[in-house]
C-alpha cells in the first residue's frame, strides 16, 4: 500500500553538495528476518560537520549506528538492501575491528565503560587497534581534553559518576583515532551542567580536531544547537531533514521535539495537523 517515501527537505541546503564522509544509501534493516527496523533511509554525513539524528524511542537511531559499526549480527539484525559507504567504499559487510581501523567508532548508548577496569585500562582498550606509541599519543590528547580522567586514571571506572563515565566513554572512543565519531545519546541521564561540558567537547572535536560527528539524540534542542545538519527519524524512516537552523525553526519540530509551539502551549489542533502530515507522508 505504502509507496516510496519522499522525505521532506526544509531549507535550500540540499544534502548532495558536500563531500560525504559517511553515507547510508537507501538502507533497509531487518531483525530476525521479520521485523523491519529501518526502511529505505538515506543519510549523508559531510566531512567535518556535526550531523544530528533525532527521533523518539524506537525510531531506529541506534539501529543505524549498530549497522555502521558492524555489530547488527549480534542482535540477529541484517542490512537487507542498500549500502553504507565510508569514503566511497562499501563498508557494511566489514568486521567491527576493520571498521575501527578505518576510523569509524561509536560511543554506545548508556556509556558502557568496562566497569571493573581502571580508567587507564578502559582507555587502553580504546587504543587496542593502535600501536603502543600511537596509543600513548592519543591518551595524552584525551587527558588534555578531559583533565578529570587524568586525575582519576587509576580508579575503577564502575565507581565514577555518570558524567565522568560519559567522558571516559568518549575518551575511550577517541583512543581509536577516529575520523568519524558517532555518539548515541550522550546526554542521557546527565545533569544539565554536565551535558554542557560534554557538548562543549563535541563542538571542540569538530572545530579543533576536524572530526566528523554523527550525533544521535532524543534531546533535540541540545543537538540542534550545535549540529550543522539534522535528520528526523520516525518508525524507521526519515521524515524530515534540513540544516539545523531550519529544523529548529520548523513548526512541527518545535512542537514535537523541542516542546515549544508557536502559540506558546500545545494545542490539539497542532496534533491533528501533525497527524495529517504524517498520514500524507506514509
Amino acid at each position: 500500500m505504502a509507496m516510496t517515501t519522499q522525505a521532506e527537505t526544509v531549507g535550500s541546503h540540499t544534502r548532495a553538495e558536500d563531500a560525504r564522509l559517511l553515507e547510508f544509501r537507501n538502507i533497509r534493516i531487518v531483525y530476525d528476518n521479520a521485523i523491519e527496523a529501518i526502511r529505505d533511509v538515506s543519510i549523508a554525513v559531510p566531512e567535518g560537520s556535526i550531523v544530528a539524528l533525532l527521533g523518539s524511542n524506537g525510531a531506529g537511531k541506534s539501529t543505524l549506528l549498530k549497522a555502521m559499526s558492524g555489530i547488527l549480527h549480534t542482535e540477529e539484525g541484517e542490512v537487507e538492501n542498500g549500502s553504507i559507504r565510508f569514503r566511497d567504499q562499501e563498508v557494511h559487510r566489514l568486521a567491527p575491528d576493520e571498521l575501527v581501523r578505518r576510523g569509524i567508532v561509536q560511543v554506545p548508548e548508556g556509556r558502557r565503560v568496562f566497569p571493573a577496569l581502571t580508567i587507564d585500562e578502559n582507555l587502553q582498550m580504546g587504543g587496542y587497534t593502535r600501536t603502543k606509541a600511537e596509543a600513548r599519543e592519543r591518551r595524552d590528547k584525551v587527558f588534555a581534553l578531559f583533565p578529570r580522567l587524568f586525575e582519576r586514571r587509576d580508579q575503577i571506572a564502575g565507581y565514577m559518576s555518570g558524567g565522568e563515565q560519559q567522558m571516559l566513554a568518549i575518551g575511550r572512543a577517541l583512543m581509536t583515532d577516529p575520523v568519524l565519531l558517532a555518539l548515541d545519546e550522550p546526554s542521557l541521564g546527565l545533569a544539565p551542567l554536565i551535558i554542557d561540558r560534554i557538548y562543549e567537547v563535541i563542538v571542540r572535536l569538530r572545530d579543533e580536531m576536524k572530526m566528523t560527528v554523527l550525533l544521535v539524540e532524543q534531546n533535540a534542542q541540545r543537538a540542534l544547537d550545535i549540529a550543522d545538519y539534522g535528520y528526523i527519524l520516525e518508525t524507521g524512516r526519515v521524515v524530515l531533514d534540513g540544516t539545523a537552523r531550519k529544523l529548529a525553526a520548523n513548526e512541527d519540530v518545535r512542537e514535537f521535539y523541542l516542546g515549544v509551539s508557536s502559540s506558546g502551549r500545545k494545542s490539539l489542533r497542532d496534533v491533528k495537523h501533525y497527524k495529517r502530515r504524517k498520514r500524507w507522508l506514509s
Partner: protein, 290 residues
C-alpha cells in the same frame, strides 16, 4: 607433628592440582562468562595424550611436556571453534549445557580411544621420594606446587599488564562494547580456551606422573570446581589458592576424621565460606551504579 606436616604437604600437592584446574575454570569464565563443565575431562584427555607420547614416541620429560602443551592448545582451540563458537550469543544456560554434553563425550572417548585400565605415566621423574628430615615427599609433588606458584605469578601479571590480558577482562565484562573498540571477541575466546586447556593439561600430566592415569581422572574437575567457587569464579589467582585450601582441608579431614570426611570436607568449607562471601574469597563484587 610429623603426621601433620606429611598431611599438609600432600594436601598442598593435590591442592596444587585442583588449583591448576580451577584456574582453567576461571580463565574461561573471566573471558567468556561461561562455566566449562568439561574442564576435568580436558585435564584427563591431555594426560592420556601425554601418556601416549611417552609410550610411543619418547619418554623424555621435555618431549612429553612439549607434546602435551601443544596438544592441549589444539584441543582448546578445536573445542572453541567447533563446539563453542556456534553457541556465541545463545543463552548462557544453553551454552553451559553444551559443555556438559562435551564433558560426557570426552569422558567416554577415553574408553574408545584408549582403555579402561589405570596406567602410570613414566617420564623418569616425579615418583622418587625426597626426604626432608623425616618427611618423605615425591619430586612430582614438589614440582607441581612450584608450577602452580609460577603460573599464579605469570597469570596475575598477564591479566594486569598485558594488553591482551586486559582485553580478555573487557570482553568478559561487555563483549559488544569490546567489539566496538575493535577487539575481536572470537579471538579472545579462542585464546582463553587454549590457555585454559594448557593449564588443565599441566595439572593432568602432573597427576599422572605423581599418581596414576585412569578413566576416573575427570573427577579432578569435580574437586576443582568447588575450588574455583571458593576462590571466586572470576578470580584466576583466587581459584589457584582455593585449590590449595581445598587440598589441605580434605587431607587434614581425611587424616584425622577418616576417609569419609575427606570427600565432604571441601564442600563443607565452601558452604560456610559462601554464606559469608557469596562471590568467593577473592571474587569481585558486581559493580553496579544506578
Amino acid at each position: 607433628m610429623q603426621y601433620l606436616t606429611q598431611l599438609l604437604i600432600s594436601g598442598l600437592a593435590i591442592g596444587a592440582i585442583y588449583g591448576l584446574i580451577a584456574m582453567g575454570f576461571a580463565v574461561i569464565y573471566k573471558s567468556t562468562g561461561l562455566v566449562n563443565f568439561a574442564q576435568g575431562e580436558m585435564t584427563m584427555i591431555v594426560a592420556y595424550i601425554a601418556w601416549t607420547i611417552s609410550t610411543t614416541i619418547s619418554g623424555n620429560l621435555f618431549i612429553v611436556a612439549a607434546g602435551a602443551i601443544i596438544s592441549a592448545i589444539v584441543l582448546g582451540l578445536v573445542i572453541e571453534r567447533v563446539v563453542m563458537r556456534p553457541m556465541l550469543g545463545e543463552p548462557v544456560f544453553a551454552t553451559v549445557m553444551v559443555t556438559i554434553g562435551l564433558a560426557v563425550i570426552l569422558r567416554s572417548s577415553i574408553n574408545f580411544i584408549w582403555d579402561a585400565y589405570p596406567h602410570g605415566l613414566d617420564v623418569g621423574f616425579g615418583r622418587d621420594i625426597v626426604r626432608v628430615g623425616n618427611i618423605g615427599v615425591r619430586t612430582g609433588q614438589i614440582a607441581v606446587i612450584a608450577t602452580l606458584l609460577v603460573l599464579l605469578a605469570a597469570i596475575w601479571a598477564f591479566f594486569r599488564y598485558s594488553k591482551f590480558g586486559v582485553a580478555m577482562r573487557a570482553v568478559a565484562a561487555d563483549d559488544r562494547t569490546a567489539l566496538l573498540m575493535g577487539i575481536s571477541a572470537p579471538r579472545v575466546h579462542a585464546a582463553a580456551w587454549a590457555a585454559s586447556s594448557v593449564i588443565a593439561g599441566i595439572a593432568g600430566v602432573f597427576f599422572a606422573i605423581t599418581y596414576d592415569l585412569s578413566p576416573a581422572m575427570f573427577q579432578l574437575g569435580l574437586k576443582a570446581f568447588p575450588a574455583t567457587i571458593l576462590g571466586g569464579l572470576d578470580a584466576v589467582l583466587g581459584s589457584g589458592i582455593g585449590g590449595l585450601l581445598i587440598g589441605i582441608t580434605e587431607n587434614l579431614a581425611g587424616g584425622y576424621f577418616g576417609s569419609g570426611m575427606k570427600e565432604v570436607a571441601g564442600f563443607l568449607m565452601i558452604i560456610v565460606v559462601l554464606m559469608v562471601r557469596p562471590f568467593g574469597l577473592f571474587g569481585e563484587r558486581d559493580i553496579e551504579r544506578v
